[in-house]
């Protein structure tokens, strides 16, 4: 650790203070640019947050907390890197830290069902021709997707939301959630299966 610098009795020269003023002005500009860039992403960040948590209010709180933390630690962002991923990393960490997510009991049904689970179920309910996508889709409402997504286990939902809604690559999602890329892929796969299972349960109920 360096000894404390005392400026008493050793007046800062004019040249020094001019340099310091320029540095401060530059830092203020850098910070403002960072804030502009982050705020321009707010809509996209909110959209992901909205599907990660149960209610609009929670999403709103979470986004505010994430931005407060992001603005406080703006110096740790490396310019030119993926800011949306950086913001979402803060947000998902906060979400886990604060224990906001509703912990569900483990899935009672095994997830090893075929990926075709939903389509098959729809088909068996309405005859083979119903396999046509339009008819499958007709039975899915926006609400049913939202509900199914909210019903799957958080660790699967995080990955599905980041990749399928946030359009993040596997690598970005791995970085955001601080898990290996292979784990992203397996959780994504299981998450999508769980989602289909939930949808089947809902749309066929």
């Amino acid at each position: 650790m360096q000894p404390p610098v005392t400026r008493y009795g050793s007046p800062v020269s004019e040249a020094d203070s001019a340099t310091e003023a320029r540095r401060i002005a530059q830092e203020a500009r850098d910070r403002a640019r960072f804030e502009d860039e982050a705020l321009a992403l707010a809509d996209q960040v909110y959209r992901v947050a909205r599907r990660l948590v149960g209610s609009r209010e929670e999403a709103e709180d979470l986004v505010q907390e994430a931005y407060a933390r992001a603005f406080r630690s703006w110096r740790s962002y490396t310019p030119g890197t993926n800011m949306r991923a950086w913001l979402l990393r803060i947000l998902t960490n906060l979400n886990v830290d604060r224990g906001r997510r509703i912990q569900r009991t483990p899935q009672t049904q095994p997830l090893e069902e075929s990926d075709y689970y939903l389509a098959n179920k729809v088909a068996s309910a309405a005859g083979e021709d119903a396999l046509d996508q339009d008819q499958v889709v007709e039975r899915m409402s926006q609400d049913s997707i939202v509900k199914a997504l909210a019903d799957i286990q958080p660790q699967f939902r995080d990955v599905v939301v980041l990749v399928d809604i946030g359009d993040f690559t596997y690598a970005d999602a791995a970085q955001i959630l601080d898990i290996p890329i292979g784990t992203v892929m397996s959780r994504l796969h299981r998450g999508r299966r769980a989602l289909k299972q939930k949808l089947a349960e809902e749309t066929m109920a």
């Binding site: 540095r23 401060i24 959209r47 990926d115 997707i145 399928d164 999508r192």
Partner: protein, 81 residues
């Protein structure tokens, strides 16, 4: 279609939809899809499901949130020597 082909497609389908396959794997999946009605329907189904998942999140920010975020500007302060 061969069972083996469908197994392979099963493996490739998710990544095919995620556009993360290598060129060779892509070609393999595509040639299989061209000849396998079952997999083609599955593919369409999966694609539609993903579109729906995406559509489920078109909700815009609540009014007023942006103003609240704007108020957070400056929290990072400026380091003075």
């Amino acid at each position: 279609m061969s069972d083996r082909g469908c197994e392979k497609c099963e493996e490739l389908l998710q990544e095919f939809l995620d556009r993360t396959l290598t060129n060779d794997e892509w070609a393999l999946a595509e040639s299989h899809l061209a000849g396998c009605d079952y997999c083609r329907r599955r593919y369409r189904f999966e694609e539609t499901l993903r579109r729906y998942v995406k559509l489920s999140a078109v909700e815009r920010m609540p009014p007023g949130l942006m103003a609240k975020l704007e108020e957070l500007r400056g929290l990072g302060g400026i380091e003075t020597a």
